[in-house]
């Protein structure tokens, strides 16, 4: 059914379709609407779940950790400061191989305190061992949440999945979203959770043991391997979703007008909409330009990136987070992927913009395209600063 839905409502509804048994959360802007919608669904009896409203994000993540270890489906959501407060637990969930699904309503990090969108929060947890997917619009966010449970619960993956959605830009914006009418069809796509190891009085395993130097590395290697393997499962989940529900946004990446492109803009999340509009205009003026969308940030789609960029001259990477003391984050990983494949004909230019909710305009994109032709391997330079505040 086609409906006009607020992003948060679309996400909550996607989560409802997956029928999680335990939900736990702590409010933080811009995640609040998602959990408010979910608690209303539980209050109205539209979702049969234990909703635990906790006293902190650390506990929200810990509650879903404990519940997930019992073998039930679990969900939480947070943003920004809340995510940083949770980080210790996210490492632990991943290390214990628990398939928790979580929404991250991407928001800037304090100080200065700022509730608006960028991706610094996501970048702060990129090494936790959680799979990190990024949605471009509300429809994809809805669909991606259903896929997330399937990926997380795959027996050969067993890792938490974090679905990134841009705070406000998606969470608080109304768009037409096509929801799935039949929960039975979702069940067919996403079978009931079935964990081999769980907290069960009939099979009493001990979880979270002390891993001494003799086994710690092997344990981490298994996680690392599972993360690598999840590439196949993310692609598979997207394809199966297409077969069943007709919608597809790419596997680990998606491409837009890439075929003959000499200039390629790489980005994640909602900014892709603005970029595609700008690219359409540039195409009309004869520019050979296209877009590479990163749908899975972890695992990192190295092969797809190399295949998409190897024939380009100029790559523009939109950085919505900064690594002080180094520069860009996404652009560094892209440059490294090309370097490893001995491709040195491509200039990868990372530009930092859109921090703390600063608009990224079509003009920004046009300017960057012009700029990148004259520059080489820019490492996360800030774009559009107000001189009066410097």
């Amino acid at each position: 059914m086609k409906q006009v839905l607020e992003g948060s409502m679309a996400i909550a509804d996607g989560v409802r379709m997956a029928e999680p048994h335990v939900i736990s959360a702590y409010p933080i802007t811009p995640q609040t609407h998602i959990v408010e919608h979910l608690s209303q669904m539980v209050a109205d009896g539209d979702l049969k779940a234990e909703f635990i409203m906790v006293e902190s994000e650390h506990s929200a993540a810990s509650v879903v950790l404990g519940a997930s270890a019992c073998g039930v489906r679990t969900y939480t959501a947070t943003a920004s400061q809340g995510l940083l407060y949770m980080e210790e637990v996210i490492y632990n969930i991943a290390g214990m191989r628990l398939p928790v699904v979580m929404t991250l309503a991407n928001r800037a990090i304090s100080a200065p305190i700022n509730i608006w969108n960028d991706m610094q929060d996501a970048m702060a947890i990129r090494d936790t061992g959680a799979i990190m997917l990024v949605a471009e619009n509300n429809q994809e966010a809805y669909d991606m949440h259903i896929q997330a449970f399937k990926i997380a619960e795959n027996q050969d993956v067993m890792l938490p999945v974090i679905v990134n959605v841009d705070g406000f830009v998606l969470t608080h914006t109304f768009e037409v979203v096509e929801t799935i009418d039949s929960i039975d069809k979702v069940k067919e796509y996403l079978p009931p959770i079935n964990m081999e190891y769980k907290l069960d009085v009939e099979n009493p395993y001990s979880f979270g043991t002390l891993g001494e130097p003799s086994v710690y590395m092997e344990s981490r290697y298994n996680l690392y391997n599972a993360m690598n393997f999840s590439r196949n499962i993310i692609i598979e989940a997207a394809k199966e979703f297409k077969d069943m529900f007709g919608r597809f946004y790419g596997g680990l990446t998606d491409s837009y007008k890439l075929d003959d492109s000499q200039t390629v803009i790489v980005a994640m999340g909602s900014v892709l909409g603005t970029i595609k509009d700008a690219v359409d205009e540039l195409r009309e003026s004869g520019k050979k330009i296209g877009v590479l969308k990163i749908r899975s940030f972890r695992p990192f789609p190295e092969d797809e990136i190399v295949a998409a960029l190897k024939n380009a001259k100029n790559v523009i990477v939109i950085e919505k987070a900064i690594c002080p003391g180094k520069g860009g984050i996404l652009s560094v990983e892209i440059r490294d992927s090309l370097f490893k494949h001995k491709i040195n004909s491509v200039s990868v230019n990372g530009y930092t913009l859109g921090l703390g909710g600063r608009d990224i305009t079509p003009k920004n994109i046009h300017d960057l395209v012009a700029r990148a032709e004259k520059e080489e391997n820019v490492d996360g330079e800030f774009v559009g600063l107000s001189q009066q505040y410097l």
Binding site: S59, S62, V63, L65, G66, A67, Y205
Partner: protein, 298 residues
């Protein structure tokens, strides 16, 4: 009658690596005898977690999970919620465990949340009065004037300069159905309280005094004796409360001066030097006397 074979079938087994004479392992053994098979346990980081589950070994024969230092109560809340969601809560005890640090310091927030939401969880705090797992640093439950590695005694110091935080009363302030204080020195009393806690629905708090051989610095054979002396001096009042009301106290059978308790422990050794030390012992006696008065222990 208990046979050798039966001792191997306990739900908390031997073969763990706790110190010789550890009263924490003794208490866990006693508690698990009562709780039995249908128990799911969570555990904060700390001595118990480390000495009972060095992979691939585990001394637990019940489902058990360790996550982090400060979230045992929150993980237990999640376990309880999952059991409810599966319709399996009836007949299963959820046991959350932590040391004094994991409970009263870094874990206080998640514990308070669990209490306030009144999850059907029994939380047990094994109070050995310091961060033992990391080498005897001070915690909020370290007793007054005890030497720890971060509250050392010295020319300018008699050790920990603050009295022990009264954690059981913090639990009671949450108006949970049951709060109890027990001791490794009184196993029948401890087991009676566990039995009672097991029969009550909602959040329960049990704090157990568990002497620690290397932390308190005494000969391992004195673990029980010290736990009993802590009670008989009035320094560790044992009681039960329902909601905000104390319903029973363990009376002192024969009041013992605190000196008898202090002198067996290396952590109070510095108090037995000179007049200044004597004055400190007086202060500790005053703490004991106030407890005796306040809880009506005699």
């Amino acid at each position: 009658m208990l046979t050798k074979e039966e001792t191997h079938n306990e739900f908390f087994t031997m073969g763990h690596t706790g110190c010789s004479g550890c009263a924490q392992s003794m208490s866990v053994k006693l508690i698990m005898e009562i709780l039995g098979k249908n128990t799911i346990a969570t555990n904060a980081t700390g001595c118990l977690e480390v000495f009972s589950t060095r992979w691939p070994e585990s001394a637990w024969k019940i489902p058990w999970i360790h996550s982090l230092f400060e979230n045992s109560a929150a993980v237990a809340s999640g376990v309880e919620a999952a059991l409810k969601a599966m319709g399996k809560k009836d007949g299963i005890t959820v046991l959350a465990q932590g040391g004094d640090g994991g409970t009263a310091d870094i874990g206080l927030q998640s514990l308070s949340g669990m209490f306030e939401r009144n999850h059907d969880v029994l939380y047990v705090c094994y109070d050995n009065g310091a961060y033992m797992n990391t080498g005897y640093q001070r915690s909020g439950l370290t007793p007054f004037d005890a030497y720890t590695t971060t509250s050392p005694s010295g020319k300018e110091s008699f050790g920990n300069n603050r009295p022990k935080k009264y954690m059981p009363e913090i639990a009671m302030a949450h108006r949970i159905p049951y709060t109890a204080v027990a001791s490794a020195g009184y196993p029948m009393d401890l087991q009676k309280k566990v039995k009672k806690a097991k029969s009550i629905k909602g959040a329960k708090y049990l704090q157990v005094d568990v002497p620690c051989v290397p932390g308190w610095k005494y000969e391992p054979k004195y673990s029980v004796k010290l736990a009993q002396l802590a009670v008989q001096t009035g320094l560790y009042p044992l009681f039960e409360a329902e909601y905000e009301k104390i319903i029973s106290v363990k009376k002192i059978s024969k009041k013992v001066p605190v000196e008898e308790y202090l002198k067996l422990q290396g952590r109070f050794k510095h108090l037995f030097k000179g007049d200044a030390g004597r004055a400190e012992i007086e202060k500790i006696q005053k703490i004991a006397d106030e407890n005796i008065e306040r809880f009506g222990l005699i």
